[in-house]
Amino acid sequence: MIAIKLAFKNLLGAGLRTWLNVSVLSFAFVLIIFYNGMIDGWNRQGRNDTQDWETGIGQFWHPEYDRYDPYTIRDAHAQLSDEITNQIKEDKLTPILITQATAYPQGRMQGIVLKGIDPKQKILKLPASDLDNAQDEYSAIIGKRMAETIKLSVGDRVLVRWRDKNGTFDARKIQIASIFRCNVPSIDNGQMYISLNVLQEMMNLKNEATLLVAGKNYTGGDIKNWEFKDLTFLLADFDKLIQAKKGGAMVMEGFMLIIALLAIFDTQVLSIFRRQKEIGTYIALGLTRSQVVGLFTVEGGAHSILAALLGAAYGIPLFLYLNSIGITFGTPDMGITIAETIYPYYSLGLIITTIILVVLSATIVSYFPARKISKMKPTDALRGKLQ
């Protein structure tokens, strides 16, 4: 307790030098929390958006289906059983039929994925009801990215060629009923959504689907002949991306922390060099060497406590403000799931982890120079003789 009191007294007594160290450390503190908060916010929004637009709470795949292998699509479809049909009627499941096709916008050739969705589905945010409202039977909804890529607007018609289940070519003009905006490029890029019934008829695959998306109210268990894919599986790519970003962030945070800790380390070395008489006096007054080492270590480590307090003083209002307005990146189209406006998310775990990290590292860098004290001779120290 004495050590802590003395440490704070000495720190405050050091004036500007202490506040410079504390400022740098507090900046590192705030930056670490801010950057991680941004990644956590992106992660939360990305996961929510992906669930809302693409995955639901999980999906049942036809056993042949592999999202990374387009060659599996042709054979990956099966009949919807009565049990599945009942779940669809209760809005617990929604079926999607997938096939490969080729679009010919303005005479160009572009490979696309044609997806059949139920216009009455309520599980995904896709504006499927626009297909019901469209005048043309062969109408489609596409995402903004897809619309830009193939240069189509609402009302435009594009020739699409596909093969039915027997491999026979068919081609028709499909009218764009609406264009949706979403933050999940995996449901937008190169994809065209048409009514499930129409695609089933086009493919000659009556009442069949490639996968089933489970809604939040889905309570049924496994479905025979369909493989359940949970969110861990479906969001694996996104999770890896976030992990990679966190790894990158750690390098940047590490540099910030090193700069701040270097300042504390320098201060400690200087203190021990300049305060040898004081160290000798402490020992002469009966403090053991380890108590004096402890005093100087606490003094160094206390920088981090002050940094946390200073960081909180300007960081909390700043974070609250950023959280209310979010941070807008315009309309990034990097092929990854990212919201236009990210609202940072500061979890209690993040704050506590950061405090522990900063306090612990500040204490460690304070301890190393202070160890020198244990090798000092008290008489020489009292005289202020260099050792």
């Binding site: 080729t102 491999g167 026979t168 070519f169 081609a171």
Partner: protein, 243 residues
């Protein structure tokens, strides 16, 4: 009574014309296919910005076996394709590997051209998979042509219907159009520069065009063709790919 006579006459006419259509297809088959043939050709693929030309030598045995070796350009030189029945292998000299093209990969375009491996692989006779009817006769540049419509009678066929113009005297097709189920025209093949080779008329120039996309399609010029040659059996083996 008169009505019945008309119906009988009409059905007789239909059956007669169907028979005639099959006969015409038979004569076309006889003309176009042989026991074997060796041909050298150049294929020009017209892209949006530039065109590429490659030359090749092909050996064909009936309609089940074929072997093609690309001779130029340098990038494609040594690339070989072997088709045996319903199997297709490609050898690439740059990787020194032979890969089998199967399943969905057969739907890919050959060397970026307007026709796919699948187009090359379908060796069933037209009359086995289509019901042919003569829809009319046309005169083009002073020559008379049968216009035939072929509608698929089996399910596993790439093109639901075809329209073929056949020279009424030479029994050589000069144009073929391939249609989707909806009736949309998908591809057009034009055959020209007819020459008599070993007693049969054969088109020395073929143009394949994907009608849905812009561009001038793919042209094939046959520079040399010989029928019924003595082709060594090892040509149609996988070992020949690496030689």
């Amino acid at each position: 009574m008169k009505k019945i006579a008309v119906i009988i006459l009409a059905s007789l006419t239909v059956s007669l014309s169907a028979q005639t259509a099959d006969e015409i297809l038979d004569r076309v088959d006889k003309n176009m296919s042989a026991e074997n043939r060796v041909l050298e050709s150049s294929m020009t693929i017209h892209g949006k910005r530039r065109s590429r030309t490659m030359t090749s030598k092909s050996y064909t045995m009936g309609d089940k076996k074929s072997f093609t070796e690309y001779l130029t350009p340098a990038r494609e030189q040594g690339t070989k394709m072997l088709k045996l029945e319903d199997k297709l292998w490609i050898y690439s000299p740059s990787t020194d590997r032979t890969i089998q093209i199967s399943g969905h990969m057969l739907r890919q375009s050959i060397m970026g051209s307007d026709f796919s491996y699948e187009d090359m692989m379908d060796d069933r006779k037209l009359k086995d998979i289509y019901t042919a009817t003569i829809t009319g006769e046309e005169e083009i540049e002073g020559r008379s042509f049968f216009v035939m419509e072929l509608i698929a009678k089996v399910e596993d066929v790439a093109y639901h219907s075809r329209k073929i113009w056949i020279d009424a005297l030479r029994f050589v097709p000069i144009k073929e159009e391939l249609f989707a189920k909806s009736g949309q025209l998908l591809k057009r093949t034009t055959l020209s520069d007819m020459q008599k080779v070993q007693g049969r008329w054969f088109p020395m120039k073929m143009t394949y065009k994907d009608m849905l996309k812009h561009g001038d399609g793919t042209e094939i010029h046959i520079t040399a063709i010989k029928f019924n040659q003595d082709i060594p059996a090892y040509i149609f083996t996988k070992a020949a790919l690496k030689q």
